[in-house]
Amino acid sequence: MNRVLVLEDDNTLRELLVDAVESMEYDVKAAESATMALHLGREFDFDLVISDIRMAGPTDGLGVLAALKQRLPGMACIVITGYADKTAPLRALQIRVDDYLYKPFEVKDLIAAVQRVHKSQSQRSWYRQVLHRLLGQAASDADLAELQASRENSLKSFFVGVRSQHLYAETALNLWDAWEDLEVEYLRVANIRVVAAEVARRLIDRYGLWQARLSKEAASQSFVAAGTRSQEKVDRATFRRFVDRIKAAKLSAEDLGLAVALRRIPGEQRKRNAELERLFQRMWGSA
């Protein structure tokens, strides 16, 4: 990953963004309009696109991203915006953007986001390994791979939904409760050495449904009260902290994949492993 496209219609900001990303030693191309971005997209294979949403022209930033992603599905996207209409978060979730930054942001936010996205591919495989190690799972087969992809996409959606502030904390908690149920299922399935195809398929469908629900609630910015708290479910204060950490980009989408598992393993087992303890503290710890 070394080629980045910056799409921004404000000259000053574009120049500065290019400068900032260049300082991270990437090969940066700048586009001042959607047309130009699309043109560049046909010429180069970008690994990352940093794009504004609202701009004049035949299509807006998200349109450009969608078009570019069609050609390069593996391309990462960071959206920066000052203000966006209601449909923006929904579309952002649909095209699976990797991060969502609100203007004004600081350089270090941007650098962190770029680095996180950059890291995410390797991170993703790393987390898989950790999970497997944790669960004592053998190498995944094809079904499991699709299942994992679906799961990771769901997590990304949740991450972007929270980051773009289109989910209320309470709504997010409600979603998270559902997510935990899914995770329990997933962990159970992942524990079986040979997963039946239909079991994986069913779980994939459930991930799909969960994502759809998330998109809908993010788009309508609806307020959904979460169910009553029980021993098993995460309590509100802890979850609030968790959400704040996501908003502040202290946790990445990949980190979320471990969140439930970490919360579920017994404390003694966790404390014996220093790495697990550190991860747990990062996500759920009170400090």
């Binding site: 404000d10 000053t12 900001l13 120049e15 500065l16 963004l17 400068d19 900032a20 300082s23 504004d52 609202r54 701009m55 004049a56 807006d60 920066i80 000052g82 203000y83 209409d85 609100y102 203007k103 004004p104 942001f105 600081e106 350089v107 270090k108 941007l110």
Partner: protein, 686 residues
């Protein structure tokens, strides 16, 4: 009555004849005769002698008296016959004839015997006394007697004829005895011979007398009824007349005063002798007694009549109006009194109706005034003006001083009753005030309070519409500000990075770049400030081009985003108006935002702004306003957008703003195909 007259007549007659013919020796006999005659005729006959009339006996007895001449005897006969017919109209066929038959032969026989002696009288008796009754009865009483025998020589007659001379002789010797005995004998005779017949006669007499008295009674009754009917008719006529009068008057739209005038005229026509007056309540002229009487009539309500021979005074009360008084040389009979009483009663009922109508008219007028006032209230926008109008009108309508205090504003000075009023009080002296008037006043206060409320609501509406407009702008402005702000943030971050690595020139160039963004922001913020600050302040001379130029940065971006082409006039012209720039800007931005929303998603969307002297035109090529909505677009809260997309205040407030500038906001179809809104104000020429 008849009897008394008859007796008196007989007495006179007797007295007269005695004075002429009777000598002293028969004086006692004559008097006795008369007395007995009277007694018998009046009382004794029906009592002592059964059903027999003593008159014939009398006639015979009298005829026997030697002192009596034939003429005198005939007179007595006539008397007897008369008495008989009067007292005992025995025969239903003919009392006189019956009496003649009864008396004449007997009397003649007695007379003849008494004068001529038995022998001398035989021829007379044969010639006269016997055939005469037969002839007479044949001629005069064809159905004489109960037996209905014609020409029958009744035993009675024969007895009388035969005994008549005996009586005559007895009378010559002892007239008194004769007078006493003779009727008794005769009556006994008659009773013996014809008791049944007599009884029948008697009963016939009684029936006849009853029948006669019945007839008399009936006649009297008929007479009385006629009189009463006549009276009734007169009464009815009079009443019909009075009702006709009332009806003709009621058919005309008269006030009470006019009606009274007409009534008095009519009364003067009908009773011209009387002086007719209407005295309103409380005014009672005349002498003390009449005044007191009139006062009594007024307080008690019953009519008053006073009559002294030819002159009459009378008064009637008309409730709630006054007293009708009449005096003059005429007679007011009971029918007229009654009729007039009824007339005035109905007159008062009618007056009551008139008064009710007048009250109704008054109330309608009040209502009309209220409505007019309400119309005026609706045009006022300042609370002080509204309170002023409130007090002014209330004063005009009631003719009383009033004052109102509300929200720290005091209008008018007055004391009296305190009526509650929106956020304050209303004072007025409501003593003796008509309840309906008070009600109208209350209604007026409610209207006033409503107008004040409206003022307040309007002020709030202005404010909220401004906020809504700012909210609409905020979306665009947020982007406008966030982008340069982001640039500044990144620029500073970069500069710091460069400084850390001692690349000073780079850092400076980043900071200079940032400066551009700062300038960009300054411009936007200053426009925003203009927009918000100028509203609510006074007017000054502004250039419409400046208004447009200042508005553009706030909306331009949205036009760009929505791909709506914005066609602008040259921005170097000068069209001055005296206005509140912020408010005009609000209207213009509102129109531009509306146009943009109407065009959303249309290919080739275009908005054209034109400037002219005192006018700004905003046209678009969108769908325009649907014909059925054209009338309503300026109504508050009218919106065709979906719920949550707008409250429908923009155009109504825009128009209000222009009207407040003595201008106008008009809609028409644009040449471009869509809507065209025209802001028009008075141009100011330098």
């Amino acid at each position: 009555m008849q009897k008394t007259v008859l007796i008196v007549c007989c007495l006179l007659l007797c007295g007269l004849t005695e004075a002429q013919n009777w000598g002293p020796p028969s004086q006692s006999g004559g008097v006795l005769a008369l007395l007995s005659f009277v007694l018998l005729e009046t009382r004794a006959a029906p009592l002592a002698l059964g059903n027999f009339s003593p008159a014939p006996c009398w006639a015979v007895a009298l005829a026997c008296l030697p002192q009596l001449s034939l003429a005198w005897v005939l007179v007595c006969l006539a008397c007897a016959i008369t008495a008989r017919t009067v007292f005992l109209p025995a025969s239903p066929d003919g009392p006189i004839r019956d009496a003649v038959v009864d008396f004449v032969p007997a009397a003649l026989g007695a007379w003849a015997v008494a004068r001529l002696g038995w022998w001398g009288s035989i021829p007379v008796l044969l010639l006269v006394a016997i055939p005469l009754p037969i002839a007479l009865s044949y001629l005069l009483t064809p159905h004489s007697g109960v037996g209905k025998t014609r020409a029958s020589l009744k035993l009675e007659h024969l007895a009388m004829v035969s005994l008549g001379p005996t009586a005559g002789l007895l009378g010559q010797v002892q007239p008194g005895l004769c007078l006493l005995v003779w009727p008794s004998v005769l009556s006994l005779l008659r009773a013996a011979t014809s008791s049944d017949e007599l009884r029948q006669r008697r009963s016939q007499h009684i029936e006849l007398r009853r029948a006669r008295s019945r007839v008399t009674l009936q006649e009297q009754l008929v007479e009385q009824t006629e009189v009463r009917q006549e009276v009734q008719q007169r009464l009815l006529d009079a009443r019909a007349d009075s009702f006709a009068l009332l009806e003709t008057l009621a058919a005309r739209p008269l006030t009470q005063a006019q009606a009274l005038h007409e009534i008095l005229l009519a009364l003067r026509q009908r009773i011209p002798q009387g002086e007719w007056h209407f005295l309103p309540a409380g005014e009672y002229p005349g002498d003390v007694t009449v005044g007191a009487r009139l006062r009594q009539v007024w307080t008690e309500g019953s009519p008053w009549f006073w009559s002294s021979g030819q002159s009459t005074q009378a008064a009637w009360r008309l409730p709630q109006s006054g007293v009708i008084f009449v005096q003059g040389p005429f007679n007011l009979n009971s029918e007229m009194q009654q009729t007039l009483g009824v007339f005035f009663y109905y007159l008062s009922v009618w007056f009551e109706r008139i008064r009710a109508q007048e009250r109704l008219v008054l109330m309608l007028q009040r209502l009309q005034a209220l409505l007019q006032g309400a119309g005026q209230l609706a045009t006022l926008v300042s609370p002080r003006d509204i309170l002023g109008l409130l007090v002014e009108r209330a004063g005009q309508w009631t003719g009383r001083a009033c004052a109102v205090r509300s929200g720290g504003i005091q209008v008018g000075e007055a004391s009296g009753r305190v009526l509650p009023f929106e956020g304050g009080e209303f004072r007025m002296d409501t003593l003796d005030m008509d309840p309906s008037e008070l009600e109208a006043l209350r209604l007026w206060l409610v209207l006033g309070a409503g107008a004040l409320d409206r003022c307040q609501a309007q002020a709030n509406l202005h404010q909220s519409s401004k906020l809504a407009a700012i909210g609409q702008l905020a979306a665009g402005v947020a982007h406008e500000l966030n982008t340069p702000l982001g640039a500044i943030s990144v620029g500073i971050g970069m500069a710091l990075q460069y400084l850390e690595t001692d690349r000073l020139e780079k850092a400076v160039s980043r900071l200079e770049l940032t400066n551009k963004s700062v300038e960009q922001m300054r411009v936007i913020v200053s426009k925003m400030l203009n927009y918000s600050r100028e509203s609510g302040e006074g007017r000054r001379l502004v250039n419409l081009t400046d208004i447009l130029r200042d508005s553009l940065p706030l909306v331009e971006h949205a036009f760009l985003m929505e791909k709506v082409e914005l066609e602008l006039p040259p921005l170097d012209q000068e069209f001055l108006v005296e206005a509140n720039g912020g408010e005009l800007q609000q209207v213009l931005i509102n129109l531009l935002v509306n146009a943009r929303l109407a065009l959303a998603g249309r290919p080739g969307a275009r908005v054209r702004v034109l400037l002219g002297p005192g006018t700004i035109l905003v046209e678009d090529n969108g769908p325009g306003v649907a014909p059925e909505n054209v009338e309503r677009i300026f109504e508050p809260f009218f919106t065709t957008r979906e719920v949550g997309q707008g409250v429908g205040l923009g155009l109504s407030i825009s128009r209000e703003i222009l009207v407040a500038h003595q201008g106008e906001l008009r809609y028409r179809r644009s040449e471009l195909g869509g809507a065209c809104f025209e802001m028009m104000m008075a141009e100011v020429k330098e």
